[in-house]
């Protein structure tokens, strides 16, 4: 029940951040994708099952407010959430620089997968909005790193 609340809360928080970003500038959502950040954090902190469920839920929420087929974002985010939990248990990624590279590769893989699925389903190349989207993996990785550091501080404060 607690895990379900965390996934739901993460998806809603990402959705609200996306709404505020769109209000700041319509292209801001292309630079930073809060759904990717939420799935990366949940996958890393809570493991591969929570990560993949968060990927599916966040993907469905993202697709609701996007034209096109319902489910493509979920199919791209689910493996990323699973990978964040699974790989982080196999290799040491906890140093800041390693964590950034880890997040960056997962976010880049998600973007490539999303572009590939869009091309496969629609039979044409995905929109890269003049290359702005290519900044997204680095921005997402940086935001996820910041989010993780914040989480660690809050957890340390509670333990004290």
């Amino acid at each position: 029940m607690r895990r379900a609340a965390e996934v739901g809360g993460g998806a809603i928080a990402a959705f609200l951040v996306m709404t505020l970003l769109a209000k700041v500038h319509p292209l801001a959502g292309l630079v930073l994708n809060p759904f990717v950040v939420a799935v990366l954090l949940l996958g890393l902190i809570r493991g591969e099952v929570v990560g993949s469920v968060a990927g599916a839920v966040c993907g469905l929420v993202a697709d609701t407010f996007s034209l096109g087929l319902f489910g493509i974002a979920g199919l791209a985010l689910t493996p990323m959430g699973f990978g964040a939990g699974f790989i982080s248990r196999k290799i040491n990624v906890w140093a800041a620089s390693r964590l950034f590279v880890f997040f960056f590769f997962l976010a880049a893989a998600e973007l490539v997968l999303w572009g590939g699925l869009t091309a496969l389903v629609f039979g044409r190349a995905a929109s890269w909005s003049g290359g702005v989207v290519l900044v997204q993996p680095a921005a997402n990785a940086l935001a996820a790193l910041g989010g993780h550091r914040l989480f660690e501080k809050v957890r340390a404060g509670h333990e004290r």
Binding site: A56, L67, F70
Partner: protein, 283 residues
């Protein structure tokens, strides 16, 4: 639970999620562009939340303005901005209407109904994956919006139309720059008919079905809605022609720059039926 499943529980959950989403994706094929029940339900739950966040943000912004002593100035400015906006809309509608009316009685009837011809709405969200495809506005069927209602920017220029899912207090607008959008248009001076389709990527569009033998269409020419699609009322400014190319195809390749800018879509006007230019009145 058999040991096999226990040992592979995580991988099986992952595979199940992927399979479920693949099934969801394939179930939509027979639906075409129509949103699924699940999509409608998610929209109905989350759109009010989106609206609430924007409202809270605005309320916080207003509180701050008041706190620093600029409250009256801000309110006055807001009133004046809204007045200018309304006057621009009315002016645009009046000019479009009057250009097509010759009889005094018809003009008088038109002037009388301008006040209820449109409703103002704020853009509360844009398509997360591509801002040139769609936007969400904070007005829905409660204020008289219907599917296919035309949406204009602050200068009365065409932005798009209302598409499903249409909520009571929120609506989704398909922008004319979406690659799935089609608008019946006519060139302002040479009066050549065509279909404007968005390219869905750069915020531009293509004027389609103009024969390569046609020599009258020129760069910088203005496009207006033709009204022949029976969705958009005629005479609305749409964009300008950027370039005209002729290749081996039967039709010309005509690039179009729409008038509206995605980043300027703070407030939009939705044309309602029964007005002089209400899209719904002609369906």
């Amino acid at each position: 639970m058999p040991r096999f499943f226990k040992e592979r529980r995580n991988v099986l959950i992952f595979a199940g999620l992927l399979f479920g989403q693949a099934v969801l994706l394939s179930l939509q094929v027979p639906l075409g562009d129509a949103p699924s029940v699940f999509e409608k339900a998610t929209f109905a739950v989350l759109a009010p939340l989106q609206r609430a966040v924007i409202a809270v943000g605005r309320a916080a912004g207003r509180l701050w303005s008041g706190y620093v002593g600029l409250r009256r100035v801000a309110e006055r400015n807001q009133v004046l901005q809204e007045e200018v906006y309304r006057l621009r809309q009315e002016n645009g509608l009046l000019r479009q209407g009057l250009s097509r009316m010759s009889e005094r009685e018809a003009a008088a009837a038109f002037l009388g109904s301008v006040g209820r011809a449109y409703v103002l709405a704020s853009v509360i969200g844009v398509d997360a994956s591509n801002p040139h495809k769609s936007a969400v506005i904070n007005v829905g069927s409660d204020r008289g919006l219907r599917l296919n209602s035309a949406v204009l920017d602050s200068r009365g220029r065409l932005v798009g139309r209302v598409i499903p899912p249409l909520g009571r207090t929120e609506a989704v607008v398909q922008l004319i720059t979406d690659d799935g959008s089609s608008v019946g248009v006519i060139t302002e001076s040479s009066r050549v008919l065509g279909i404007l389709a968005g390219d869905g990527k750069s915020g531009r569009g293509w004027l389609k079905y103009v024969l390569s033998t046609n020599e009258t269409v020129l760069e910088s020419e203005v496009l207006l809605t033709s009204g022949l699609d029976r969705v958009f009322p005629p005479g609305l400014p749409v964009g300008t022609i950027l370039s005209v190319l002729t290749d081996t195809s039967l039709f010309k390749r005509i690039a179009v720059e729409p008038f509206f800018e995605v980043q300027d879509l703070g407030v939009v006007a939705v044309l309602l039926g029964e007005g002089p230019d209400g899209g719904g009145a002609r369906r």
